[in-house]
């Protein structure tokens, strides 16, 4: 326990805290609260902690580094509340020493940094593959041009066949260069695949271990668990699942971008697609207290991979549920696009909508508009659009800020059954 004034002067400090910091009970009274902190902790106090307390009256679960008299650091979680007492405003804090939590957070931070480094590496390699590809294309174009010139010359100067032969030889050489460049590109691509597989393993294994151990603790294998501990385990578990999900999304995106997804195209009616996904989303609609209306023009047949089309629709419906306040409405419609080549399955919501200048960027990986209650990786729409395009279709978005958004999965119309 600790109390200090807005000026930071310590007015009360209990014996436990004083002893934890290596002081006697009275020694820290009248000192500045900063003298309990590391230098980094003091900056954080002035730039974040104090403003938070002053503007909001309280601060919860703030991590601060305390400094022991002997100079060692002690991590602590601080909860604080500012209140009037006897004409003075004091901030009352409870501090919890957090060796264990700090260790987990260190692990988490290390994992996060490793993931960031891996991502940078992945990007570097992708750039390299793209560069080699571009080089290849350039060379192919140059070759094409030379071949054209050759043909012209052959027609005009048939008699100079010797010269033509020489040029032909050169062409052969170029072909070998081209072959070499192609094998370099293939090698780089193979390295990327191996790297992705490794990254998947390296990141998932410790994450699954975290999940497993949390379950063991929750099952009270190591002894009884208090309600607070159980709540904390729940948070660890949620974070673990979130991270796992993020990695899955990342790998899915990489796979789609590498063109390693097979599409099983078949004739499907849009009505079938809709009735296939609605049962999966209805519980979420009920929980979020949203109404649903479905209107589908009958008899529209599209060409699509049923499973992937359903995956896209579930993603769109989940987003609609996530971004629509309780009492709102979600609509599902199927029709033929005005230009006549596509079947459209549209999911509309009565949420806050999206500003026109943000409509494009929502399809970029990792972009999430600023609605903080939502969870997720920001990869959903990027993956959905890639899947739609993989089926020869597309994903379209339109929105009126304040009124809601409509996302449409466009699928090629099937030719009339013969």
């Amino acid at each position: 326990m600790l109390s200090f004034t807005d000026d930071g002067i310590v007015r009360y400090l209990n014996d436990t805290l004083a002893r934890t910091l290596g002081y006697g009970e009275e020694e820290l009274l009248g000192k500045h609260v900063e003298s309990l902190l590391t230098i980094a902790g003091r900056i954080f106090y002035q730039t974040h902690f104090f403003p938070l307390l002053r503007l909001h009256g309280e601060a919860s679960e703030i991590f601060l580094l305390l400094r022991h008299r002997d100079g060692t650091d002690i991590g602590a979680i601080v909860n604080a509340r500012r209140r009037e007492r006897d004409g003075t405003t004091l901030s009352d804090c409870t501090l919890m020493e957090v060796r264990e939590r700090r260790r987990y957070e260190d692990e988490l931070l290390r994992a996060k940094r490793a993931a960031e480094a891996a991502n940078a590496e992945l990007q570097a390699r992708t750039t390299e593959v793209e560069r080699v590809n571009a080089l290849l294309l350039e060379q192919a174009a140059a070759l094409e041009k030379q071949a054209d010139q050759l043909r012209e010359q052959a027609a005009e100067l048939e008699v100079q066949s010797e010269e033509l032969q020489a040029l032909n030889d050169e062409l052969m050489d170029r072909g070998e260069e081209l072959e070499l460049a192609r094998s370099i590109a293939e090698e780089a691509n193979r390295a990327k695949s191996i790297f992705l597989a490794n990254m998947s393993h390296e990141l998932r294994t410790p994450l699954n271990a975290i999940g497993g151990y949390v379950q063991l603790l929750e099952m009270e294998i190591h002894g009884p668990v208090t309600d607070d501990q159980r709540a904390t385990l729940g948070r660890i578990s949620r974070s673990q699942r979130h991270l796992l999900h993020l990695i899955d999304d990342l790998l899915n995106l990489a796979r789609i971008e590498a063109g390693r997804v097979d599409y099983h195209l078949e004739r499907v009616t849009t009505a079938d697609l809709i009735s296939g996904v609605l049962p999966m989303i209805e519980p979420q609609l009920a929980t979020a207290r949203l109404s649903l209306s479905v209107s589908a023009t009958p008899g529209i047949v599209a060409v699509a991979d049923r499973e992937k089309a359903e995956q896209v629709l579930i993603n769109l419906l989940t987003n609609a549920v996530k971004f629509t306040p309780a009492g709102g409405r979600v609509t599902v419609e199927a029709c033929i696009a005005p230009e006549g080549e596509f079947a459209l399955v549209s999911v509309g919501d009565s949420g806050i909508g999206i500003a026109p200048d943000q409509l494009q960027s929502i399809f970029e990986p990792f972009v999430q508009l600023r609605v903080r209650k939502s969870e997720g990786t920001g990869l959903g729409l990027a993956i959905s659009r890639d899947l739609a395009r993989g089926m020869g279709g597309d994903l379209r978005a339109s929105s009126t800020p304040g009124k809601g958004s409509v996302f449409s999965l466009a699928l090629p119309l099937a030719p009339p059954a013969g």
Partner: protein, 274 residues
């Protein structure tokens, strides 16, 4: 031109209040947003046109406008200040900057001195890192790395712990929105970059070029901007006034708003008379 004006107002969440004509532009420091001026700015609304804004990446600004290249140094933030000046066509502006914004104001005033009447600097420091034996900024690079680590940990903590705890506070639901707007939801990458731009900056050479008059408000016992740093700023600025405050810490506008208001008002009325 008109379209661009509208864009900056929205991008920087610009708020204009007050009944005066001369503009008074308040710039927040690192770690917060324009909310930090709520105990000081209203006192000037009778006499000035009070302008508040959030830097891109802070508060309710448009975060999608955050360009890591532009905001890699304080110049990008100074451009935000100038963009706001252009958008509202501010002239003869009284600029009030807290902490890092004092130096951002210096950069803006050096770029377009004709727009500024004076600079009020609350807790300024032109360089936070010690430099050999000649200059004591107060910190070593390791201290700043420690700050970045503490921030990182709190963003993990806030995302998972703080928000739900606040959400549970049924008596004061407005806390949830405001808190997530200004603190909880700040993007850790943006916050880290702002911290680096702030604490690794060296603006000592820019001070001598300031042509407009300035006021240095120095707190007592300010770890972030110690007295010798404030005095350095005062010596280096050609036309500056130095006022030592009773207030302690680094945020007098939040811990001692009355004294802060009084000293700024004294300075402004004094220079108006001069």
């Amino acid at each position: 031109m008109h379209a661009m004006t509208v864009d900056v107002i929205r991008r920087n969440n610009v708020v204009v209040r007050g009944r005066g004509t001369q503009p008074m532009l308040f710039a927040h420091g690192f770690g917060c947003d324009q909310n930090m001026w709520r105990y000081v700015a209203p006192a000037f609304e009778d006499d000035y046109r009070v302008v508040l804004f959030d830097y891109v990446g802070a508060g309710k600004s448009d975060w999608t406008a955050f360009d890591p290249g532009r905001y890699a140094s304080l110049d990008g933030y100074a451009q935000d200040v100038l963009d706001v000046c252009h958008a509202l066509d501010l002239r003869d502006t009284l600029f009030v900057g807290h902490s890092v914004s004092a130096m951002i104001g210096v950069l803006a005033a050096n770029a377009e001195p004709e727009r500024f009447a004076s600079l009020v600097m609350v807790g300024p420091s032109p360089r936070y890192i010690n430099d050999g034996t000649d200059y004591v900024g107060g910190f070593e690079r390791a201290d700043i790395e420690g700050l970045l680590e503490t921030m990182d940990k709190n963003y993990i903590g806030w995302a998972n712990f703080l928000a739900p705890a606040i959400m549970k506070n049924g008596e004061r639901p407005e806390l949830a929105t405001e808190l997530s707007d200004s603190f909880c939801a700040i993007d850790p990458v943006i916050a880290g970059q702002f911290a680096r731009a702030t604490f690794y900056a060296d603006n000592r050479a820019d001070l001598a070029r300031v042509s407009v008059p300035s006021l240095v408000l120095q707190c007592a016992d300010d770890i972030i901007a110690p007295r010798q740093v404030g005095e350095y700023v005062h010596r280096a600025l050609p036309r500056s006034t130095f006022r030592q405050m009773m207030a302690t810490g680094h945020c007098p506008h939040m811990s001692a708003p009355d004294e802060t208001i009084r000293l700024i008002r004294d300075y402004l009325t004094g220079s108006a008379a001069a």
